[in-house]
Symmetry: C2
DNA sequence: CAGGATTCTGACCGATCGGTCAGTAGCGTG
DNA sequence: CACGCTACTGACCGATCGGTCAGAATCCTG
């Protein structure tokens, strides 16, 4: 169904731009060119729509977690992580920036748990404050940067350009101090 | 008046935690132990309360801008910038994470303009994508990290510890590539 | 104590919210 | 054509939103 995908696409844009609480079901319906009732026909509730919107991105995080769990964090991991951020930039922006205001929403709690688990992998090798903050800055900063890039620059940069820059910066950030000082 | 300051303090916490849209005037009144009418007696509107909440932090940004305009960005600038982030961590978190969902609020538009101006100072010396992203990651990442630190770690680190780590990380991030490669 | 200003409150308002429901339009198949 | 299923809609609901207002409580000062 084209409508279902359209609704999810519209919801993704609006949930990221105006926020989940700042986006009404009627607004999504208006942007998609259907009635509010039609939105709630395809998706049982506004929450179910959020679920469908960021669900795939959460599955992507689980894949990354599985990969981290198996092997160590090497250079190719940063590359894969950046590709994930680029692919799901709006979804990541949603559950990074709005997770604290949507504590009672199940899918957000799932996102919270995943992010915490991911953060733990970075924190367990080194319990220093700085290394923990490096991961937080990398994640929160990249999410902020990718979602608001068009606000600061009129013409968006090419994805390849942004990808290269992000890999450089995040490699620098996520490489622990003790390995850099070898 | 203790009540007025209490209300602003409560509003600061809630606007940062649950978001401006996710915080009702009644909720603020409940947390402050007064009636909703009393809140709207001291502050003409919910928007005026937001104004009083993040206004001082915006004044702080203007001071930083003035300093940047006068002199170059040196090591002590990062230190001052970190102190600003630590002092106004909740306020910064509010207008960094919610500025896109509150586009019609005047005080948020003021914050937007200030952040854009600050970003321009970093972008004008180098128009490269990477240098622009470095500033975005530093600002968005630090705001995210400082506001959500307690979510990931049960016991908060001391401010001095966080301050030192943040200065290290942001110095590394904000030092342009061309100077590092000298 | 008297009285005016300040502080505070409950009752109420229109608007908007997410969600329900009965009903209809369209479409493919027998 | 007739049937059944999917897609869709307008009307409506209770709840909550920000905000208003008349009046009560409190406080300060003469």
């Amino acid at each position: 169904m084209a409508t279902i995908d359209d609704l999810r696409s519209v919801a993704l844009d609006e949930f990221s731009r105006a926020g989940y609480l700042g986006t009404s079901v009627a607004r999504i319906a208006e942007l998609a060119g259907v009635s509010k009732s039609s939105v709630l026909y395809h998706y049982a509730s506004k929450e179910a729509l959020l679920d469908a919107t960021i669900g795939p991105a959460l599955d992507g995080i689980e894949q990354i977690l599985e990969r981290v769990r198996r092997g160590a964090i090497d250079d190719s991991f940063v590359e894969e992580f950046v590709d994930f951020l680029l692919r799901y930039r709006l979804e990541v922006n949603i559950f990074i920036n709005q997770r604290r205001s949507l504590v009672d929403v199940p899918v957000i709690e799932r996102a919270n748990a995943l992010v915490v688990r991911l953060a733990q992998y970075f924190g367990e090798s080194s319990t220093s404050v700085e290394d923990r903050m490096r991961f937080g800055i990398a994640l929160g900063g990249a999410a902020y940067c990718l979602a608001t890039a068009e606000d600061f620059s009129p013409d968006p940069y090419s994805d390849e350009h942004v990808r290269g820059a992000l890999i450089d910066i995040l490699s620098e950030l996520l490489t622990p101090v003790h390995t850099r000082h070898d």
